[in-house]
Amino acid sequence: MTRRFIVEPRGLASLKLRILVPVLSVLAALVVSGIFLLITGENPIAVYGQMIDAAFGSRRGISETLISSTPLILTGVAAALAFKMLVWNIGGEGQFIMGAIFASGVAIWLGPSAPAALALPAVILAGGLGGAVWASVAALPRVYLGTNEIITTLMLNFIALNFMNFLIFGSSSPWRDPEVATFPSGRPVPDNARLPEFFNRLDVGIFIAIALAIGAWYLVGKTRWGFAVRVVGDSPTTAEYAGITVPKKILAVFLLSGAFAGLAGALFVSGPVGALDPRSLDLGLGFTGIIVAALAGLNLIAVIPVAVLMGALNNAGPSLQSIGVPAATVTMLQGAILIFAVAGEFFIRHRIRRPEAEPEADAIGEAATA
């Protein structure tokens, strides 16, 4: 039997390919979603045109797109950091919420009289701490007991969400605004703990997020610690032979991943949202971070532009309702993008070619040695 195609593993994929695959993933997702739009009687071109216009068509659109992108840069880094080390932290959502709870809690506790130079850093650090603490609930059992983290992190998302709802809807906690009696809402974060805005509603959080992403890239890519962590990610056995304490590294990466998701929560409450507001925080930003990380090929710098793309989609969603198209179009599109991005991994890892006129056995032998 001769084969029509030979699939063989390839070494390092070229930069061109590593950019081409995500671009094609997005295009394929646009086509698939377009089919569903057509089925339901919408014109996909008009819908996509409306989305581009809402996301980039005006100064306000651009600033709102960047506002939506800011948390996604950090939840994207959170997912990419963990997945690189084969730590399956699916709990970015809960860590994001816990970061928001810690950050807004510290802001409210410090009160309006604390100097901004103290309040802002304290609030942001509290967010990172909140995310790390929440990650530790899954990370410690994973590292010391061998408990699978996929399900624990997933379940912790729902506990965090319900805990936030409890603080606002279910109790008269310090997070709840005592002034508004009609509908429970979050107590506003004092102005001294709010990030300064510079372009419409866009605040400096975007720069903090980009700096943190670059910092994570430097830490993993350029330091001794990062090298040890990468060895663990490639092969825990090799790492052990090299004298690296594997559990400690896994724990550190897990907590760092949680901290990044928590930082996203902090920047969101001290930035555009300005309170622990469940309706503005329960947007699936942790899950979208996984899409960002996958589409970026787990590259911590590529996370930044991909987060802007996903932020643009998130920003465009609600505007679709004005032309009678469900906002869920965006969720569908993002899910499709992730499906194609993960399928595209195959083409980054493998080479497909036609066999030359040689016996099959040789071709397989060649593939095995390649």
Partner: protein
């Protein structure tokens, strides 16, 4: 708590647990083949919306259930392709399926000039027997007062158990999940077995989703199934990959979901516990069960398929 409230809670737990039984047994069958599909939430939602739609168009409940199973199975084929044929990461692929399925279901429920959202179903699953033996004390409501799909869930559990442990195909399935290379050497077509059981898992998840939209809350809303698809994934472990245990685990979680209503009826101080705290119960239960049951080598002992989540390369045996 008096006897009748306990009975009401158990009966409600059976209702709330039924969609979990279908989805959990589906995922057990999929995982037994060595494929982890985290997309249960997406498949259930697709089942919920397409089943609702089909019944909404035709008034036919059985057709709704069939359409739900076919459509959810079609979605699971995407995961089968990426994880069996392309051999990419099953965790990310499953999550992709969950996100896409949720988005698509919400989209389909709201799209078009006459959207489904807010509409009641044209038909819904009702208890098969009313009066007569269904009114017998205790056993009446516990055993005879249910709708068709509750009985189907018991049949599915029995059939899945028989299939897994008493048939030759079930043996092949388990062999593929434990040691695909040896199974292949023994003449089992690993890829085919994996494809088939991912599709069966998808169909059962779709059936579970349809139970929400055609029996539990027969009105289309954006978020009709809560977190059932995610809980089903945890239940697989709690049930240690065995169908009958899935039934009891599902009822336990059904009861945990029901607790907030039961406590309301008990008066103070129980009714003062905020619902947001009680809503955490199923998830807390899942985490504690995970830590207690699966830490260290216990997961293997419980019956986790050895090759779960690991892509199989025939050429690189």
């Amino acid at each position: 708590m008096n006897e009748s409230q306990l009975l009401l809670t158990i009966v409600a737990a059976i209702g709330l647990g039924t969609p979990l039984i279908f989805a959990t047994i589906g995922e057990i069958i999929t995982e037994r083949s060595g494929i982890l599909n985290l997309g249960v939430q997406g498949m259930m939602l697709i089942g919920a919306v397409t089943g609702f739609w089909a019944t909404f168009q035709t008034g036919n409940l059985i057709l709704g259930v069939v359409i739900a199973m076919v459509c959810a199975s079609a979605l699971s084929a995407v995961h089968a392709f990426t994880s069996v044929t392309l051999r990419v990461n099953q965790i990310v692929s499953g999550l992709a399926l969950a996100l896409f399925g949720s988005g698509l279901a919400s989209f389909l429920g709201r799209a078009g000039s006459n959207p489904l959202v807010g509409n009641p179903s044209r038909a819904q699953f009702e208890p098969l027997l009313e009066g007569g033996i269904a009114d017998w004390p205790v056993v009446g409501p516990l055993i005879f007062g249910h709708d068709l799909l509750v009985y189907l869930s018991w049949i599915v559990a029995g059939a899945a158990s028989y299939y897994l442990f008493r048939t030759k195909m079930g043996l092949s399935l388990r062999a593929v999940g434990e040691d695909p290379a040896s199974a292949e050497a023994a003449g089992v077509h690993v890829s085919r077995v994996r494809y088939i059981h991912v599709l069966i898992g998808g169909a059962l998840a779709g059936l579970g989703g349809a139970y929400f939209s055609l029996a539990l809350t027969p009105t289309w809303q954006d978020d009709p199934i809560g977190a059932a698809g995610w809980i089903a994934i945890a239940l697989v472990i709690l049930a240690s990959w065995r169908p009958w245990r899935a039934v009891f685990a599902a009822y336990l979680f059904g009861a945990a979901e029901r607790v907030q209503f039961t406590l309301q009826t008990l008066g103070e101080p129980w009714s003062d516990i905020p619902s947001t705290i009680l809503a955490m119960l199923p998830f807390l239960l899942a985490i504690i069960a995970m830590i207690v049951l699966t830490s260290g080598k216990r997961a293997r002992f419980l019956g986790a398929p050895e090759a779960l989540g690991i892509p199989y390369h025939r050429e690189q045996r």
